[in-house]
């Protein structure tokens, strides 16, 4: 299995995939994911024409044909955007479909003359890594290296142009040249990429690795590296699968593996992922329930004028909450020594009293803030404060207290309970 040819193909595939991913990252960040797709489709007539007019088996012709078609498509889109009233997405779709249609037309012409079969023209549509010859491999691997070098060289320019193009222009950077360089790199990345995944699925190789990587990091160099890794793994996986199974195309498998990375990232990524957000929602709900119970007990003490206990049943009545949820929250509060269980029910510990007092204080402070600063009527403020008492941080609390000048009572004339120190 580890013969030199196999290793060369493997290495080539890794470089091809990661170079496309790194170039595509900037399109992804700029919100121009579709442009890469359009350029990929637009390359088709270029490579087929190169095949007809030149020597179809020589990669040099393919690259030149692809470059010309890609640049025409790119500047065509820009021209339509500037000179007509069409929206950008329409301009992109228009160019994409016209070029692709023309490419398919040319392909069927070549196919009919019978040359297409020998050259394996169909590999440009869906990709076929196994069809790559040794010459191809050297040329495209070289090109992939060149792409990575290009991104490294233009890193500052691409970064600034993606983040803030006006500023780049204002400090006198050659924005036209940088954009041209980026277009050339994109076209070359697509030319390289279609060897493995083909024109139709090229957008996946440009965009999906970055979409996946962005979920895991907010550091651009790290994101580029991660995107390259995702793309490499996908290329590896796809190549293995299509080699192991009979008559399986490489491109769709690579794209499927990439999609798997993409969706997995969306679900599992820390902070931004779906699971993390679910966890955050659950923890917020949990916090709200805990604080509400402590507030309830504190309120009961306040009314009684002395520490008292409440039964779980009384709490259920007061909170209109399910018994199961409530007892679970109580169990947790007990574990943290915020409440104690006594024969006559549950009572606050000293620690729990401080927490309960804090929640009541925030509630009343926010009610006061709403009436004083937002001019709301006293009978409208309770529901708002019910939420905000769980949100307000110590810093914001300090700000409110300062702004309101250490107030003593809330709009309902209840005292605002400060901690004595």
């Amino acid at each position: 299995m580890f013969d030199p040819v196999f290793i060369k193909v493997l290495l080539g595939t890794l470089l091809l995939a990661s170079s496309s991913a790194v170039v595509g990252a900037f399109s992804f960040l700029k919100g121009e994911s579709l442009v890469g797709d359009a350029i990929a489709h637009a390359l088709l007539p270029g490579v087929v024409l190169a095949f007809i007019l030149g020597d179809g088996r020589h990669p040099g012709y393919l690259i030149i044909g692809a470059l010309i078609a890609g640049l025409i498509a790119h500047y065509g889109i820009a021209f339509i955007e500037q000179r007509t009233k069409l929206k950008s997405d329409t301009a992109v779709s228009l160019v994409l479909s016209t070029f692709f249609g023309f490419g398919i037309l040319l392909m069927s012409y070549v196919q009919r003359t019978g040359q297409g079969q020998q050259a394996g023209l169909e590999r440009f549509l869906l990709g076929k890594a196994a069809a790559i010859t040794m010459v191809d491999l050297y040329v495209f691997t070289g090109l992939a290296l060149l792409l990575l070098l290009g991104v490294a060289l233009f890193y500052k320019g691409f970064q600034l142009m993606t983040f803030n193009e006006d500023f780049a222009a204002a400090i006198g950077l050659p924005t036209g040249t940088i954009r041209f360089a980026f277009t050339v790199l994109t076209v070359l990345a697509v030319t390289v990429g279609i060897q493995t995944v083909g024109v139709v699925l090229m957008a996946a190789l440009l965009i999906t690795p970055s979409a996946a990587a962005r979920s895991w990091t907010s550091c651009l160099p790290r994101m580029l590296l991660l995107a390259a890794l995702f793309a490499s793994f996908a290329a590896l996986g796809g190549t293995f699968i299509s080699a192991a199974l009979p008559k399986m195309p490489t491109g769709p498998w690579i794209v499927l593996v990439l999609g798997f990375f993409g969706f997995t990232s969306l679900i599992f990524a820390p902070e931004k992922g779906w699971l993390a957000r679910r966890r955050r929602a659950a923890s917020n709900r949990n916090k709200t329930q805990r604080e509400n119970l402590l507030k309830l007990l504190y309120g009961a003490e306040e009314r009684a004028g002395k520490p008292i206990a409440m039964t779980a049943g009384a709490m259920v009545d007061a909170r209109e909450q399910h018994y199961e949820g409530l007892t679970k929250t109580l169990r947790n509060l007990k574990k943290e020594f915020l409440v104690v269980e006594r024969p006559d029910g549950f009572a606050l510990t000293d620690l729990g009293r401080i927490e309960g007092r804090r929640v009541v204080r925030l509630h009343r402070l926010w009610e006061l803030y709403l009436t004083e600063r937002l001019g709301m009527a006293a009978d409208h403020i309770h529901p708002q404060a019910e939420t905000m008492e769980h949100v307000i941080t110590p810093e914001i609390e300090a700000l409110i207290v300062k702004e309101l000048g250490n107030p003593e009572v809330d709009p309902h004339q209840s005292p605002i309970p400060y901690e004595e120190d």
Partner: protein
């Protein structure tokens, strides 16, 4: 008067509709200058044209008596905070370092000196402790201060800022104001696009009142009069806006193609 910016007969359109009509004024050096006017009065267009980001239909602008390209390193620009996507993967230091990018170091690595200057700039806006913070996690006021730090890192002589006081908290506002006065004391010129009349009188030494056309430009005592403010904020001139719509609808060119501008070569 030593001049910082000169604007000569400037007409600029946006989507072929004129938003500035024959605006002409000169600004002094070493002052805090406000470009003031209602929404849609062409303030941002004015700044962008001076920065070469929009091409005028007629007229020209100069900075320190020269075309922008000759003095670019002495000019710093702070775009509107909302004009960029703050979800971009970068930390505060990354953005401030962008102020050190130049045409001639585009392909070079960031130097220690660049980092030192960026750190100093962050210190001036009280954001040094946030240097490693992701920009997506900043408050509006902090984002604005990052932009100002980036412009300080350019070490320019004139600073053009687009609405730096919009959506910032009181602490940031004070910090920016103090910074502006320090800059002025060092002899720098600061030009600020500003839409809030309440504060304009307090912030600026010199005011340009704009509403598609120039209403007035001069020391604030002369410009901040009831009559002039009423003229600037009393709505757009009906004839001008009708004519603008007409030009836009018919795509009529604002100058004949072979019209020669009375402009110095350079």
């Amino acid at each position: 008067m030593e001049k910082s910016i000169e604007v000569h007969n400037l007409t600029v359109s946006y989507h072929s509709k004129p938003v500035l009509w024959d605006v002409d004024f000169e600004l002094p050096k070493g002052k805090i200058i406000g470009i003031v006017g209602p929404n849609g009065s062409g303030k941002t267009t004015m700044l962008k044209t001076v920065m070469g980001l929009m091409k005028p239909d007629s007229g020209y602008t100069e900075i320190f008596g020269q075309p922008l390209d000759k003095v670019r390193e002495r000019v710093s620009y702070v775009p509107q905070r909302e004009s960029v996507d703050w979800d971009f993967p970068a930390d505060v230091m990354d953005v401030v370092l962008m102020g050190r990018y130049r045409k001639n170091n585009l392909f070079k690595r960031i130097t220690k000196e660049d980092r030192r200057i960026a750190t100093e700039a962050l210190e001036k806006v009280n954001l040094l402790e946030f240097a490693d913070r992701q920009i997506s996690q900043l408050s509006g006021g902090q984002q604005q201060r990052v932009f100002i730090a980036r412009s300080l890192a350019q070490q320019a002589d004139i600073y053009l800022m687009d609405e730096p006081f919009v959506g910032v908290d009181a602490a940031t506002e004070d910090a920016i104001l103090k910074l502006l006065r320090d800059m002025k004391n060092e002899g720098k010129t600061v030009v600020i696009v500003h839409h809030d009349l309440q504060t304009a009188n307090e912030y600026f030494d010199w005011i340009v009142l704009l509403n598609t056309r120039l209403v007035a430009a001069g020391p604030k005592e002369q410009v901040f009069t009831k009559e002039l403010l009423q003229e600037a904020y009393g709505g757009r001139l009906t004839v001008l806006s009708k004519l603008g719509d007409l030009i836009s609808d018919t795509e009529f060119p604002l100058r004949e193609p072979d019209f020669k501008e009375d402009q110095p070569q350079g």
